[in-house]
Homo-oligomer: 200 residues x 2
């Protein structure tokens, strides 16, 4: 049985969203499953000295245009919300809390959170929005609210960010297949060939 593919993403990353819409089917077509790992680009940028894409001179303007063009190219829709980028620690902590209880619901919550943010412009940095989305996927709303106020989910997300950095993750999306790293949704063609051929 082949090892699952690891998929790292930040909930505020449009390219991460596009990969989230594609990665499970892509992996399944080659008999592979996927482990989802939300992380915080902010935690990575503290190590790398990077700044968020939209605030970069020249590249920032291009990126906003490329986000929406790349969505159309991939058959998806994406409108960059006015509040962008946003803090995604609450959504990421909720994901891990859900994932420990019901991995299928956690996956559905993650996709729903991405679609709410990039499809409907809902501000998923807010706890209320996160609780609504989680409850819609069967979560115990009060239990999740209590967990979000505690230390355990904070520490879990901190650990996940540290592990991501230790594995060389510096951007979103980031996919690791049998140790081979792929950064960016534009690496889908290489990922497909890698899965087909076992490496090239």
């Amino acid at each position: 049985m082949a090892e699952p593919i690891d998929f790292y993403f930040d909930f505020s990353s449009p390219y991460g969203y596009f990969m989230a819409e594609k990665i499970d089917a892509l992996a399944a077509a080659h008999g592979r499953s996927v482990r989802w790992h939300p992380f915080l680009l902010g935690a990575v940028y503290k190590v790398t000295g990077e700044v968020p894409l939209p605030s970069k001179p020249l590249k920032g303007d291009y990126s906003k245009h490329d986000f929406e063009r790349s969505a159309r190219f991939l058959g998806l829709s994406c409108r960059i919300p006015e509040a962008f980028p946003i803090g995604t620690q609450i959504a990421a902590r909720a994901f891990y809390w859900l994932d420990e209880r019901d991995p299928v619901a956690a996956r559905a919550f993650a996709l729903a959170a991405y679609r709410a943010y990039f499809g409907e412009g809902r501000d998923i940095s807010q706890e209320t929005a996160v609780l609504d989305l989680a409850a819609a996927h069967g979560a115990d709303r009060a239990g999740l609210a209590e967990a979000l106020a505690g230390e355990a989910v904070r520490n879990r997300l901190k650990d996940e960010c540290a592990q991501a950095i230790a594995r060389g993750v510096f951007g979103s999306p980031f996919v690791i297949i049998d140790g081979e790293p792929f950064w960016g949704v534009d690496r889908i063609p290489q990922i497909e060939r890698w899965l087909q051929t076992g490496g090239f």
Copy 2:
């Protein structure tokens, strides 16, 4: 008659090299020609505050791996030379001097310079290497050497860099089709669809 496609590249950029191997055939398949514009990433980075990819934490190591994997994916070969990145102002100035005299020879020189650097590890930052490559493509070696010592080719390259920045070019390769900007060799699939459909 459709406008030519503009192709911006730095001679020290592996992804620029890959695009140089692909762009003319890609454009020709859709009845388009290409204007080649070598520029200096260093001049752009002065404006954007960017640093060269290989010196970035985490991303630098990934990139060196991705350069060679992307080359294999595209059916090309690429070995990153020990001296990398290098200054490419002499190669770029020589290109523009050649281009004013014989655009076909200038194009052949550019591809030969890329292949010499990324294929054979020749240090094309050196004037001797540039003169050798240009002479091999029919250039008047003494005439080019004299030009490289003068002001005209320096000013031409400065103007080209300023124009690139004014058009929003922030990386290499950068392709502009009828005003639509595409950054990166991984945008080839989007470029192909754009040329097929006139936009999407």
